[in-house]
Amino acid sequence: MLLVEQIIKIWSKYSTVFLDGLTGTLWISAVTVFFGTLLGMMWALVQLSKVRPLTTIYGWYVGLIRGTPILLQLYFFWLWLPKALPLELSNTQCVIVALVVNSSAYVAEVIRAGIQAVDFGQTEAAKSLGLSNRNMMCYVILPQAVKNILPALCNEFISMIKQTSLASVFFVSELTTSFKTVQSITFLAIPPLIISGMIYLVVITFLSKMVNLFEGRLRVSD
């Protein structure tokens, strides 16, 4: 009973801290997935070009990103980027760069898999009609691949919402940092933790439902 009371009390007093945190989380996730998708598309093109040295580099890149913990990647960019660039970079900017790089590797794989999942017969039919490679991609393969890719991209956005909690390590303003902030003010740990957790749960459950609905609608047109 005490816990519930504490939660209600903390929420009524510090709700703006949590809502600001949520805004930060959603904003960082959206920016990350947007640029991650752009970069991921470029990587996917690199891979699909089938040019030997490029595809090898792609393999290393994806292997490196997926083969190391994301927290380590965040530390790396946080430490290295301010040294490498002659700019004043905020923690948030360093973290976003790291998340974009991380996300791009996953997005590239999503796009690659989405394109390769299109039946090879479609490629053959397009070629037999004399379509150029470009037209085949734009008018036959990609429109079909999009149906595989879009739901997976939405899921990438959802998982990014969870990944951004790691940014709290660098005191970037987001939902997990909100918990830490409120904890340090109130000296209570569990209630703000639960509040942050519940906000994540509500948002992610809602978005997952939306993706399922969206996926269902894509299926219908199959």
């Binding site: 039946d119 017969g121 053959e124 070629k127 037999s128 009609l129 004399g130 379509l131 037209n135």
Partner: protein, 247 residues
């Protein structure tokens, strides 16, 4: 087919190797304008691979393919331009599921031959009329039966006004009651003078409509002749053996 009709497709010493497996082991053959050629033979004999080499969907390991006198196996030529004149119909239809029936047909002519949309549509409708699919023009392929999909695939290829049509077992994936419709369309096409190369298991069809039948076995053309010769009086022991199993 007149006797001195020009060769439209010629292959010279065609070989195709997949890893350790030599699928085509030296084929030299030609198809003349207006000719209907059926290719028969046991599965794994290389019939489909041979057909797919004719428009370079499969690149031969060695040997040359000539289309209208031009060597299309030459890496420097624009293969897309030549493929536009070589129609192909697949066993599994391969119609474009994200496009309507009409869009399936007009896509390649409008993109690659720069035919105005309206004109391409009129032509597509005329073709659909011929195969009895006009009322399906705005449907998506998922609403079509197998036989309808294959008829769509045929007119999609015809919309490019090809000089030759390649059929790769066009009725093998169809329910029996659909086969007749599709064969009817191919028959009309043959009677209209189209040059056709047809890989088939439909022996009745091969016998009735072909000018020439090629029997393939183990990567070579083991025997060839008129349908009367091949079906009536086969010489090669493997041909005899094959026909005894399928007829």
């Amino acid at each position: 087919m007149t006797k001195d009709a020009k060769a439209i497709l010629q292959v010279v010493d065609l070989h195709k190797q997949f890893k350790d497996l030599e699928v085509l082991r030296g084929i030299t053959e030609e198809v003349r304008e207006g000719e209907v050629v059926s290719i028969i033979g046991p599965s794994g004999s290389g019939k489909s691979t041979f057909l797919r080499c004719l428009n370079l969907l499969e690149r031969p390991t060695s040997g040359q393919v000539y289309f209208q006198g031009v060597e299309i196996t030459d890496k420097k030529i624009d293969i897309d331009r030549h493929r536009q004149k070589i129609g192909m119909v697949f066993q599994h239809f391969n119609v474009f599921p994200h496009l309507t029936v009409l869009q399936n047909i007009t896509l390649a002519p409008t993109l690659e031959r720069k035919i105005p949309k309206e004109e391409a549509k009129d032509r597509a409708l005329a073709l659909l009329e011929q195969v009895g699919l006009v009322d399906k023009q705005n449907e998506y392929p998922r609403k079509l039966s197998g036989g309808q999909k294959q008829r769509l695939a045929i007119v999609r290829a015809l919309a490019m006004e090809p000089e030759v049509m390649l059929f790769d077992e066009p009725t093998s994936a169809l329910d029996p009651e659909m086969v007749k419709d599709v064969l009817g369309v191919i028959k009309d096409l043959a009677l209209s003078g189209m040059t056709i190369v047809n890989v088939t298991h439909e022996m009745g069809f091969a016998r009735e409509l072909s000018d020439r039948v090629l029997f393939m076995d183990e990567g070579v053309i083991a025997e060839q002749g008129s349908p009367r010769e091949i079906f009536g009086n086969p010489q090669n022991s493997r041909t005899i053996d094959f026909l005894s199993k399928v007829l």
